[in-house]
Subunit: 247 residues, 2 copies
Amino acid sequence: MRMHLSEYATLITDAMLRNETVVLGCTCSIRYSGRAESQLGRGDRIILIKSDKAILVHQPTGNAPINYMKPETSHSVVVEGNHLLLKSKNLALKEFLDVTIERIHFYNSHKLEDSQTIIVAGTEEDMSNMLYEHPDMIEDGFKPVSREEQTAYGFIDVFGTDKHGTLTIVECKRYCADLSAVTQLRRYIEKMMVSKGVSKIRGILAAPKITENAEQMLKDWGYEFKSIRPPKYLEAFDKKQAKLDFF
Amino acid sequence: MRMHLSEYATLITDAMLRNETVVLGCTCSIRYSGRAESQLGRGDRIILIKSDKAILVHQPTGNAPINYMKPETSHSVVVEGNHLLLKSKNLALKEFLDVTIERIHFYNSHKLEDSQTIIVAGTEEDMSNMLYEHPDMIEDGFKPVSREEQTAYGFIDVFGTDKHGTLTIVECKRYCADLSAVTQLRRYIEKMMVSKGVSKIRGILAAPKITENAEQMLKDWGYEFKSIRPPKYLEAFDKKQAKLDFF
DNA sequence: GGGGAGAGATGCCGC
DNA sequence: GCGGCATTTCTCCCC
C-alpha cells in the first residue's frame, strides 16, 4: 500500500514533533553547504533523523554517512511539485542540507529510549594506567610521578624518573606510532625542559610498533622506543565492571 | 501486527541473502571485541546492515554510531530463548559484535541502488590550489614552484620562493590551526633544509585563524601566520561542475 | 565555549 | 599493504 508523498510529509513532521526517531529509505539527491559544500546526484539512501534532531544520510555501502548534520538542527518537510523537499538548517553553525526526495521505499518512526553509556576497554588511557601501575614494564628503576600532567603544550601520559633520577616522559600510543607521535613527545619534552629548568629529559614512546620514519626521527632526537601493547582487553574490562558493580 | 522474533530471524537472513539493506529499530544490548572491547547495556537503537555487509548501531541521539563493523563482515541471526541473537564476525580483522535483541519496534529491508559519488568543495586541497593560482595572497613577490615538485619532498601544501629568493613552505589548514599544524610545518622545514642543504627556509601557516598557543609556538620557531580562508565554496563548486560537465 | 588529544577513528592517495 | 594526512572528522575532558 503506497502513500502519496504529501502524506509522508505529514507523517514525518508529526513524528519529529513527537520527538520520535525517523527512518526513511528513499531515492534522493542532496546538496550541502556549511563548513564545506557538497553535491550528490540521484540514488537510493537511508535517512535517519534522530530524536535530538541530528540527521544522517547513508548510501547502501560504506561505513560513514555521506551527509549529516549535528544535533539541534531544524528540519522541515514540504511537497514541491512531484517530490518531497527535506530542508535541514543549523543557523548556529551556518549549515544547510537540502534533500530532494523523489520516491520513498519505506518509512518508520518510533519513540526510542536509551539511557545507556558505552564502556570501552583497551584504550590509550588503559595503557598509561597499566604503565603507571607496573612501571617496570618501561624499565627497571623507573618511578612514575604523575599521570596526565598538564602543560601549555599538551598532556603528558606518564611522567617520572629513571633509576639515575633523570626526568622521563612516556608517550603512549595504542597502535602503530607515527611521525606525529614523535613530534608530540618532542613538544612535551621541550616544554618541560623550559618549565622545569633542566637540560636533559628522556623521552620514551611506548606503542605496539612504530613506523620506520618515525623510528628514525625518534633516534635523531635521542629518544627511545619501547614496544608495549595495550592491556589485555578482557582483564581491563572486567576490572571496570567490578568497579561499576561495586556501586 | 506483531511478528514473533523467530519470523524476524528468517526475514533478516533472507534479506541479507538478497543483498538488501536492512533497518531495524529494537531494544538490545551489545558486546564488541576487536581492536578494543566494549559493552553497552539494554536500550533502544537503530541497526543498519548495508548491502556491503557493513553494520552500524545508532543510539537515538548523537552523530556517531555507538558500535559498528566494517564492510565484508558476516552476520548471522538466530533465536536464543526469548530473544534474537545477531552475531557479526569479521575474521580477517579479528572483530566480533554480538547484539542481543529483546524486542523489535520496526523492521524494513530494501534493495537500494546508488552509483553516485559525492563532490565536495572547500577542502584544504581547494585552498592550496587557490594559493598556487593567486600567490599574491601569501605576499607580494611570492612565487610558487611547479606543483610536480611537491611530491619530491612529501606532502607539502604549497612551496616556493619569496621576493628575496628564500625558499618558503606554506602549510594550509581549512579551519583553526593548532599545535600539531605548527609541528607539521616544522617537520617539513627541517626535512627540506636537509634535502636542499640550506640553512634558512621560511615557514608560513595559512589558515582562517590560529590558537593562542599555536601562535606562540609559531613565533618561537620564527615562522609566520597568514590569515587566509578556504575559497568561496560555491565558486569552487561551480568550477568543478563546469569541469565535469565538459567531459 | 575554546583548546588539546584520542578514536575500535575513517577514507584517500601514493609508493 | 603500509604510510602519511585530511576529515563537514567526532567525542571527551578540562580550563
